[in-house]
């Protein structure tokens, strides 16, 4: 069995004497980097199809597996949204849909997109692929646990999708699953549907915890020589902080899910008050439905930032690379990410203004909510100042970045509306809320994902995606998304309630009908445009322009691997040694407009560079 391993610990245990690039060992030498603290990682190399591609312990393969499965689930979420839009825009064409179907689709669309698509894609997909590469590690610290994490996610998705085929169908309680309605008759899927949903969430949390421990320990304990925390790319900071949030927020979801399952299966009364069902008094009494709302939103609000923080991090790196400029205010960006993460645990009840609470509570949560706007706005200013007088390459990646900034500002501003109790109460449960959260945590992070796909595809596959198709994809998505969500703000202001299957003869119906049709058409087009990307990926995998090494002339370590795409173990014989932050672009006096993180100071002594 021993031939499966790198039993080269003695050779690879790096001391400054044996490894070049780390200076001579004298502390006066400007190139000096401390010797390695831990022996090189011992990796299990797969040698069959099963161990190489299915039950693989290589974080890069696991990342791609997460990416593909999350995308597959996301496409199901997309199809569900099409069906919803068909019903809302053209109810006469959607004769096959009942109100029950509609609620089930709303619920599954929400849950899939937030948890099984965005969270899994950012943390499982980008996290697995990028953290070890960007930190200069050979792999995640616990590769076996990491592999199990993906397969737990796989089972969670299978259980979730199985709920489409059980009697009663999937749950239709809305993605917030509020009891008592989620588990009593009259709500679609209140039998097996809700049980499978809770089970799937519990499995997801268990699987995520395994992955999350890997991401955290890899960042904290397995960086390469010279890689200080303040030299990490912001992508790693974003994913790292989001993982911390997830480790502390998912417990509340787990507990809420378990307690609700017990209410359903065993008839406990954790969340259930005395209640009538079809004229009959049920056996429940004395429980608190609001308790579930607190548990859910203690998870649910940090969840928003679990999706947003990796997006913030990734976008910072993309902008810096494609504007050929260092990120403005790197440390401010790091502290903003950490600050947003910490604050996100003190705002959850702003989702519950209409549930009824002490007015001082509403005041407290409104204040904390608005305080989050401060670090967030700092980030937006810094992105814009990074672009300011940069050498902008207006390629597809940059287009997505610009699209993200605009969309995010847009969604953020409506967030300030909704954070205030007095404004929120009339707007609550209208299309304004839908417009807000789709802009800020749906479309904006999605644009980052798209930008990141165009940016890192050359690393994963060795080939570029087609720029021409990419531009079509971007403009359809960007303009289309605005056509969908901009009118929804108006619908919200005139009071159109969300989660309604049909408007019937409501007074606002005349002006809303045409708009609903328009939104639906836009939604069909935007959804279809996403298949341009899938086509682009499939074609470019075989016929794309070869990218070679470091095609974007980037500094961070993932572009400086021994082979492209990187092999298992990432960096060949010797791990890289880091001498600087990853944002030395367009440094005056330097030969090229980028200085990779591995370049020692003696090689760039003549440039006007500050020590980072």
């Amino acid at each position: 069995m021993s031939e499966d391993f790198n039993d080269k610990t003695t050779i690879q245990a790096q001391s400054s004497e044996t490894i070049s690039g780390g200076g001579t060992g004298a502390s006066s030498d400007i190139d000096y980097v401390r010797p390695a603290e831990v022996a090189d990682q011992d990796l299990y190399h797969g040698h069959s199809f099963l161990t190489k591609w299915v039950f693989c312990q290589d974080a890069k393969v696991i990342g791609v597996q997460y990416f593909l499965l999350a995308t597959f689930t996301g496409i199901i979420g997309l199809i569900l949204s099409w069906l919803m839009r068909l019903q809302l825009g053209y109810p006469e064409l959607a004769g096959f849909m009942t109100a029950e179907h509609y609620y089930q689709f709303v619920t599954m669309h929400g849950m899939i997109m937030v948890v099984y698509f965005l969270t899994a894609l950012f943390l499982g997909g980008f996290g697995n692929y990028l953290i070890p590469l960007m930190c200069g590690a050979r792999d995640m610290v616990f590769p076996y646990v990491n592999m199990v994490s993906f397969w737990m996610f796989f089972i969670a998705v299978a259980v979730l999708l199985a709920s489409f085929f059980v009697p009663g169908g999937p749950t239709g309680a809305g993605w917030t699953l509020y009891p008592p309605q989620s588990i009593i008759e009259g709500t679609p899927g209140s039998g097996m549907g809700i049980i499978l949903m809770c089970l799937s969430l519990v499995l997801f949390v268990a699987g995520f915890t395994m992955g999350g421990l890997n991401y955290l320990i890899t960042v904290l304990q397995a960086r390469t020589r010279g890689m200080t925390l303040m030299r990490m790319p912001l992508t790693v900071w974003g994913i790292f902080t989001a993982t911390v949030l997830a480790m502390l927020a998912f417990p509340a979801l787990l507990v809420g899910g378990l307690m609700m399952s017990l209410d359903k299966i065993l008839g406990t009364s954790f969340f259930m008050p005395t209640i009538l069902q079809a004229g009959e008094v049920l056996d429940y009494s004395g429980g608190s439905p609001i308790l579930f709302q607190h548990l859910f939103w203690f998870f649910g609000h940090p969840e928003v930032y679990i999706v947003a923080l990796p997006a913030f991090g990734i976008i910072s790196d993309l902008i810096s690379v494609h504007a050929r400029k260092n990120i403005f205010g790197y440390r401010m960006m790091v502290w903003a990410i950490v600050g947003i993460g910490a604050l996100s645990f003190f705002v959850w009840a702003h989702h519950m203004y209409v549930s009824g609470m002490n007015p001082w509570f509403g005041f407290f949560f409104a204040t904390t909510t608005l305080i989050i706007a401060v670090p967030t706005a700092m980030k937006v200013y810094n992105w814009i100042l990074t672009l300011w007088r940069g050498n902008i390459r207006l390629n597809v990646v940059m287009l997505w970045c610009l699209g993200f900034i605009i969309t995010f500002v847009n969604g953020g501003i409506t967030g300030i509306f909704l954070g205030n109790v007095t404004v929120d109460v009339p707007l609550s449960d209208t299309y304004f809320v839908i417009a807000h959260f789709h802009m800020v945590m749906g479309i904006a992070p999605l644009m980052v994902i798209m930008g990141a796909v165009y940016h890192w595809f050359p690393l994963v596959s060795g080939r570029f995606l087609s720029e021409k198709l990419g531009k079509w994809h971007f403009w359809f998505t960007f303009l289309g998304a605005y056509s969908i969500y901009f009118p929804m703000h108006y619908l919200g202001f005139i009071g159109v309630p969300r989660r309604y299957f049909e408007m019937y003869d409501s007074p606002y119906v005349t002006s809303a009908v045409g708009m609903n049709e328009f939104i639906s058409i836009a939604a069909f087009i935007v959804g279809a445009a996403q298949f341009i990307l899938i086509y682009n990926i499939i074609v470019s995998l075989r016929m794309g322009k070869p990218a070679g090494k470091n095609p974007w002339k980037a500094n961070s370590l993932e572009w400086h691997t021994s082979t492209v795409p990187p092999e298992h173990g990432n960096f060949g014989e010797k791990l890289p040694v880091v001498h600087r932050w990853p944002y030395d672009y367009s440094v005056p006096g330097a030969k090229e407009d980028f200085i990779p993180q591995t370049t020692p100071p003696s090689e760039v002594a003549e440039t006007e560079i500050e020590k980072t």
């Binding site: 299990y44 065993l266 009364s269 954790f270 009494s285 004395g286």
Partner: protein, 236 residues
């Protein structure tokens, strides 16, 4: 504990040392094994799970319309016809805390490479855990026999049964998982896997006595959580 020796790195005392460690490259927790750091962070996450359970319990107990049963009556054992409150639970707690002691000794003997003592102490810890779970099963069956169910409770608020079975059940699951791992580790210790650095069955990583310390962290955590559950259910 003395700082580990790291070539080229100078440890500083106090908060300046912490800041220096955080600002340095490679590792934040100097000289700490990856697995140990992982267990600490896992336990932090697990703390949040138990906190959510216990906070829900406080909320449920505080707002139930029916009176909460008196714990010193419900949990009392009858010894010779006289009800003795807290008797069983005192023994259970004593056994579990003692098993923490044997676990700590097992870690010590492990690092001293005293294979036999280490193995026996792990087995003693497992035995303590098993006794605890056994007594918990006894208490459960006593309550069930008296008519307490997750969905009903003859002594008062029905949430009493719900929270009691759920939270002690969740904790008991933790103890049982711990016992299973203790048995596996005891086998590995006796078989010398940690001395030879034999690779694990699943993880294929080389065995090391640090694994016992990592399991020990989990075990002490489970004991600590029990102290909280004990206080909230039996003393409140």
């Amino acid at each position: 504990m003395a700082d580990p020796k790291i070539e080229g790195y100078e440890f500083k005392p106090g908060y300046k040392g912490m800041a220096a460690d955080a600002g340095s490259d490679q590792t934040l927790f100097k000289g700490v094994h990856w697995g140990k750091a992982m267990m600490w962070i896992f336990l932090l996450s697990d703390t949040f799970i138990f906190s959510c359970f216990l906070i829900s319990y406080m909320k449920g107990r505080g707002s139930t319309p029916v009176e909460w049963p008196n714990p010193s009556e419900v949990f009392a054992l009858h010894v010779g016809g006289v009800p003795v409150p807290l008797l069983l639970i005192a023994i259970m707690t004593f056994v579990l805390i003692t098993s923490s002691g044997t676990m700590a000794l097992a870690v010590k003997y492990g690092y001293e490479r005293n294979r036999k003592m280490c193995g026996w102490l792990i087995l003693a810890t497992a035995l303590g855990g098993l006794t605890f779970v056994g007594m918990q099963a006894f208490e459960w069956s006593k309550l069930i026999h008296e008519g307490v169910r997750p969905w009903e409770n003859p002594f008062g608020a029905k949430q009493f049964g719900s929270f009691f079975f759920m939270i002690t059940g969740f904790h008991g699951t933790h103890v049982s998982i711990g016992v299973i791992f203790l048995c596996i580790y005891a086998y590995k210790t006796f078989a010398g896997h940690y001395d030879e650095g034999k690779r694990g069955w699943f993880t294929t990583m080389k065995g090391d006595y640090v694994e016992i310390e990592i399991l020990g962290l989990y075990w002490h955590f489970v004991d600590l959580v029990w102290v909280f559950i004990f206080a909230f259910f039996y003393l409140w």
